[in-house]
């Protein structure tokens, strides 16, 4: 790939979730994961961003040992997921993208009681409080619940045992805007009371913008970039500049350009690198830099994905 200048290793810090060279192919299809090296530090809120079909759900299912990797290794809290699956699952709270309703005839209350039996650390008082906050219809049958209500019930079942690791797969899908707000508030409150590592897979990156401190961008089963959020914020800028007629570009900079936009003598380049250095190299090449605009997390993700596709 032409994007080798982007960071993909988080560095020396204890990891709550780690995968090494994980590969997975379903049947005869294309690879769902093609060498995934996920590094989620302890206590991080890690946003795993990428389009549908990039491998996000497969990655989470491998961590839960619901899917087995063809190659590579996955660890949660230092435990290999395939060797101690029960122990690993006890450490995890999981909100799946699609809530399975295998026990559809149970009421939500009965479903949660059944779920609670698997977790030694289940806090019934906390579960009740969460149900009330999220307006989970406890007396309705699970099979009769709307997508949103199922989501909210799944959230209670993921949080009430205060897991060390929380895996969220598109957690706000199917929630109305008010419920999304409530979800984010609830998650923040949960984090202030229980030390939790969050791996949040989503294509609605803006929802995680206020909370994310680590970002991974996944495309076609592998990471385009993985870094602390502050590194991403500090390193990516959209430079708008005026250039002389028949400008041929800035030598020494070309390796770090993610996107080239603009028309005629006005360019808008998205570049990875220290702002002063990038700006001075552009100026040295004859460009007059008008500004260097920071990117929101969502814009940054989109730029990385577009560059990854073209690169």
């Amino acid at each position: 790939m032409g994007l080798s200048f982007l960071p993909t290793r988080v560095g020396d810090t204890p990891l709550a979730v780690e995968t090494r060279g994980v590969e997975k192919r379903y049947g005869g299809g294309a690879a769902a994961l093609a060498g995934l090296d996920l590094q989620v530090p302890e206590g991080a809120v890690y946003v795993l961003a990428g389009p549908n079909g990039a491998g996000k759900s497969t990655a989470l299912k491998i961590l839960l040992d619901l899917v087995r990797a063809d190659r590579g290794e996955a660890r949660v809290c230092g435990l290999p997921t395939t060797r101690r699956p029960a122990l690993v699952r006890a450490q995890i709270g999981f909100v799946p993208e699609v809530v399975e309703t295998a026990y559809g005839w149970l009421t939500a209350r009965e479903f949660l009681a059944h779920h609670a039996a698997f977790y030694a650390t289940w806090d019934a008082g906390y579960a009740d409080a969460l149900c009330q906050r999220l307006a989970v219809p406890l007396h309705a049958r699970v099979e009769s619940l709307s997508k949103g209500a199922l989501r909210r019930m799944a959230l209670v079942s993921a949080l009430a045992h205060r897991p060390a690791v929380l895996l969220l797969d598109e957690p706000t899908d199917g929630l109305d805007p008010l419920a999304r707000e409530e979800f984010c508030a609830l998650l923040v409150e949960h984090l202030t009371t229980a030390p939790t590592t969050v791996l949040w897979s989503t294509h609605h990156v803006h929802e995680a913008d206020r909370m994310a401190d680590h970002v991974g961008v996944i495309q076609e089963g592998r990471l385009v970039m993985q870094a602390p959020r502050d590194t991403v914020s500090a390193s990516l800028r959209r430079y708008r500049a005026q250039v002389p007629p028949a400008w041929t570009g800035a030598p020494g900079l070309n390796g770090d350009v993610l996107l080239r936009e603009g028309a005629g003598r006005e360019i808008a380049w998205t570049v990875w690198g220290p702002e002063r250095e990038v700006a001075s190299r552009l100026e040295a090449a004859g460009a007059v830099v008008r500004d260097a605009l920071p990117l929101s997390l969502e814009e940054a993700t989109l730029a990385l994905l577009r560059a990854g596709r073209e690169g």
Partner: protein
């Protein structure tokens, strides 16, 4: 004290919290000895990662803007007087200069335009009386 965050701002969220607290101290809406919200309460209110608030409070404490008492919370320190005001004004000026440069204006042109605009603004109410 009202803390406003702007996600399209280039500053990291913790820095925005730091700047907002500084502003409140300079403006006097946060007086010496006033308590700041707990990390938990502010994180919940702003919907941000609690670590972000913690980082902001650490930074503010290092800068002497706030102090913490074990088990009691975080409190505003005595304001740094003119030094703190100047720091804040410097930030405002830098932002204005960046904005002006975007449209191709130099700092001295901006300064002149500000004085002109301020002069006009001052005369408007009197002409309307």
């Amino acid at each position: 004290m009202l803390i406003d965050l702007d996600l399209s701002d280039g500053r990291p969220l913790y820095q925005q919290i730091v700047d907002e607290v500084r502003r409140a101290v300079v403006q006097g809406t946060l007086a010496a000895g006033d308590p700041l919200p707990s990390v938990r309460a502010l994180a919940a209110e702003l919907r941000v990662n609690p670590n972000t608030v913690q980082q902001a409070y650490r930074e503010l404490e290092r800068a002497g803007v706030v102090y913490s008492r074990r088990g009691q919370g975080t409190f505003a320190a005595r304001p740094g007087g003119d030094g703190e005001r100047e720091l804040l004004l410097g930030d405002v000026a830098e932002r204005a200069i960046r904005d002006a440069r975007r449209f191709g204006f130099e700092p001295h042109e901006l300064a002149e335009a500000i004085l002109r605009a301020a002069g006009n603004a001052a005369t408007i109410p009197s002409t309307q009386e």
